[in-house]
Symmetry: D2
Amino acid sequence: MAPARIPVAVLGATGLVGQRLVSLLADHPWFELAAVTGSPRSQGRRYGDVVRWRLPGDPPRAAAALVVQPSEPGLPGRLAFSALPSEIAGEIELSFAGAGYAVSSNARNHRMDEDVPLILAETNAEHLALIETQRRNRGWDRGLIVTNSNCTSMPLAMALKPLDDAFGVEKVFVVSLQALSGAGYPGVASLDALDNVVPYIGGEEPKLEIEPRKMLGRLDERANTTRLAPFTISAQTNRVAIRDGHLLCVSVELQEKATPAQAAKVMRAFRGRPQELELPTAPPQPLIVRDESDRPQPYRDRDAGNGMSITVGRVRECPLFTLRFVALGHNTLRGAAGAALLNGELLKAEGYL
Amino acid sequence: MAPARIPVAVLGATGLVGQRLVSLLADHPWFELAAVTGSPRSQGRRYGDVVRWRLPGDPPRAAAALVVQPSEPGLPGRLAFSALPSEIAGEIELSFAGAGYAVSSNARNHRMDEDVPLILAETNAEHLALIETQRRNRGWDRGLIVTNSNCTSMPLAMALKPLDDAFGVEKVFVVSLQALSGAGYPGVASLDALDNVVPYIGGEEPKLEIEPRKMLGRLDERANTTRLAPFTISAQTNRVAIRDGHLLCVSVELQEKATPAQAAKVMRAFRGRPQELELPTAPPQPLIVRDESDRPQPYRDRDAGNGMSITVGRVRECPLFTLRFVALGHNTLRGAAGAALLNGELLKAEGYL
Amino acid sequence: MAPARIPVAVLGATGLVGQRLVSLLADHPWFELAAVTGSPRSQGRRYGDVVRWRLPGDPPRAAAALVVQPSEPGLPGRLAFSALPSEIAGEIELSFAGAGYAVSSNARNHRMDEDVPLILAETNAEHLALIETQRRNRGWDRGLIVTNSNCTSMPLAMALKPLDDAFGVEKVFVVSLQALSGAGYPGVASLDALDNVVPYIGGEEPKLEIEPRKMLGRLDERANTTRLAPFTISAQTNRVAIRDGHLLCVSVELQEKATPAQAAKVMRAFRGRPQELELPTAPPQPLIVRDESDRPQPYRDRDAGNGMSITVGRVRECPLFTLRFVALGHNTLRGAAGAALLNGELLKAEGYL
Amino acid sequence: MAPARIPVAVLGATGLVGQRLVSLLADHPWFELAAVTGSPRSQGRRYGDVVRWRLPGDPPRAAAALVVQPSEPGLPGRLAFSALPSEIAGEIELSFAGAGYAVSSNARNHRMDEDVPLILAETNAEHLALIETQRRNRGWDRGLIVTNSNCTSMPLAMALKPLDDAFGVEKVFVVSLQALSGAGYPGVASLDALDNVVPYIGGEEPKLEIEPRKMLGRLDERANTTRLAPFTISAQTNRVAIRDGHLLCVSVELQEKATPAQAAKVMRAFRGRPQELELPTAPPQPLIVRDESDRPQPYRDRDAGNGMSITVGRVRECPLFTLRFVALGHNTLRGAAGAALLNGELLKAEGYL
């Protein structure tokens, strides 16, 4: 007999990232979707009736039958995934953690808090050690908050991690070509997207210049906080007319010179804690390196590893820095809902629930 | 009474750049389209009957009535614009120059020849002095070849020129988001373009790393050749789903530190020889600098100055280099047909015809 | 010396149709844009500062300098173009007409009023005779309201008019493929537009089934109202990922059988009152018929006649009805702003101002 | 122990439909891909090395390892799926059938042959009885050819079938909005697809006006041929910028008047022979009817039933005919590769292998 699944809640379940979480939880081996929350307008009605489903097909049957609840503690279970908009996520997540919930959040509000782990499960699972400090600081007994990064920071951090471990990252130039789904729904107007590029995404560049440094940073000795990794990132971000998949053109200066072949080798060999623990949502290979001259491409590569693998290509020398390459990640899966879910699985496997 | 217009030919008039040239010449004050050439399949037939017109509407009436000729000397006039494909442009252009024609070429074949000027009229009109060497080297009496750059090199060279003059350019990172029309017709398959980005354009990055350095280089003392400008460019190029307009994200290291305001000021003030000479196709302002956070955008800005101005935006500090900015140019106008035409006008105004 | 231009106002000038009107009025030979109105949020500020300009480039300089006013009588001049949203257009237009303004409206509110002419200038300029009844009914001395049709009704009415005159229209099937700009800004979300079709446009099909019948209807004897043309239309409408240009696939049953060649002939020969009066915005040829098998196409044909001509193609036999064909019109020019402007010109030329 | 799988071949495996077949066969419970064929350029090389894979990710591992063979009898197994281009399919399929193979073809060449069944498995499985005649006519012992329809004919035939059975179809107007993948690769040029519609697809309308009538026709008494169903179709076809999914706007005149609710009921209840036989590729419900006003949509509905269900929506009254509705099918799955595969399964289940 299969063991009982753990009841979980999705906060902010009607948005685009919430919908992805609801989808991913439909047949999850460990977790059972027991509650969804939404805005006052939706509360008290069936999820299937109020959600404007933006993914192919229909909401999963079981989820569709749930009644939308307010985003307040009192929901079944002890694990809540937060896909709340940042306008309200900060306070609500605190109230859930204060009430004893483990909160795995995709919102940006607490990402840079000193005692909140910003976790990309493959790169810095050990940052979960901050939770002890966090609980002490905030007087929480069982509650906790972990966050995952911005959807664009994630593929960059994943691609840089094995390079940083092996060769030391010093400087990074990155230009992104980001998908429309990153702006949510309705998000970008079609008249701005069609036959156009918008070379600006509000608030995105500062996140992309700091979050990867926290994820690749080190716990300080007493696990009171994390130290930002000591490299500098210069980021330019663009919105292009693709549905899903953020593509990054990266140039990186390394402390120890590495050839493209050496870089590709460490990226291919890279595995993290989720692979070790065989977490259900972990891709077998977090970094796929392709040899074709014209890959990765969003349409062809965003779904690699069920949307949880990052695909890297065009690893080659750079006339100014050591190396350059292209990296691609699925922004609403690996870069948002999938990352939050994987963090939830990590919390469970590491005994934090 | 208006003076008689100078008869000119367009070589390779049925391709996408050829069509743009034919359009631009329809009401030209100095030049009159007197001949069009094309492949054997088209020769002897009316241009209007054989061209697969890819621009809005129809070919200009006068052009449509011309009979397509072989790409061989013997055409009316002495000025030929070459929109030939690079597979055949090299030899044919030599034969025209040898026969006494002034050839203004958009093809890449002779761009990097030591005695061939690679002209962006605003940045290096003085390189026309190479023509004397060219004629001597090749034994040409009246013939000559001038070239314009690759469509992506052009906006970069234009944007860098005033910065280089004022502050000295040392290093350049550039990532391009390039339009579909840059690949000609049929060019990119729609299944590769829709909901996708292709992070590779064959042969484009080497051009983008060298051509701007020739255009911003100096004539040597004896005007025997040009010296490449002594800065380094690292380029990554991408094909995105826009019709026209190449957008560049640029970071630049300057010898003399400049603020964004200082950089914007010299770019706005920049004028070149075409403005001085008031050439018919010259835009009043070659570099437009916009203050909005989300411009330039291909749809909104590619037609600035009738497609002959470069629009720059987001001029700001860079954490790694001195400055960064976004630049946009219309690739088949300013970056191809318009550039070739402007070079023809420059040749005329400077007495080379 | 040029005669003084007539001052005009654009009501609702910040929306997409309002922006088109402002553009078209920039260099108008008869009219001078003297006032723009907008929502309370915009009032009292410079138009150039509040408008989110969705067209290429920038707002015309003179318009940009105007201060946005409330949509209330008291504006300079006596002619007002209404691009107001239908939520508020009804009352405001009445108040302007009541205050003595001639209102040329693009809004749907009064289109089907019995005493309001629904004018497509080429097809039913004689319906202006209703204005006398309208003034009598409503107690207006000098004021009046004329309307133009929905953007999809327009190309259908234009294409049917010469067929109806020559052969008698009995039944019409029409399926539309409509541009994104028809939904205004922000309008259609890019996630709904990319790689997708939405086979539904709210309220559109009923308009498309009735408005052409009013435009092609007859004034009753006493010019008290118009009689709907006695044919039936079945319409299905779709939103597709094009910026501008509504394309219609039409099958038509005629009373008197006509061959495709006969139909093409009467369409090509068709001219209306605007051509007779040589109105400034009238296209020389309202209906262009193309012979290629794959035209009209939105990208290539929407700008024909400066966006004021309708392009028809593929005129051929239908296995069920007499004929079928494809028609295309620019929805925000001929189908909205251009139509309203042309109606304003018609009012002036016919002595209604 | 699982029974041994039947070895099958895919003829023309490198094209877009061939790739879909190779994908679908990767984990097929009955069939094992034993051979792939391709053009001389590909022969003798690994499929994985020569195919330009246009679907997400990579070719299935086992298929990638196959060596591409000439399209000639002598391949392992007795069942061949033909995704050959029509330029060569006719002769090659005959040679395979003559050599004893059962050929399930997606090519158009033999579709309208009197003794070749044109099978949409849910609508006319009984037409397989023609095979006996076919073998007799052509002197084949064990070989046979069955075909599936054009990708646009398929959703129309499927949607009409239950209506025809219940109420009798008399007349059909259909306008299609067809996906880019229907033109194969490279197919439609991106410059023709972006911000555009092409209202013409070569050869498509005649197929769409005849093939559904063969699929919905009856076997004559002696099973020597099929009689075309006695209704008339008028078709207009358009290419729009979507990747997969053909959408049809349909108006239908029925002999016996039916309400929208009655029509939706018989469509929802419709099941065919594949459902009865529980064929592996058969969708549980061949026709899904949605109640939302804005469905079906290609992005949201094309993958219904793993791309094998047709989705119908907007079933409503028509002012001219009895009813109208919108239908959508996945053109390269249900409309091509999936249909051919299902026909292969049907042949097996009905004892023709």
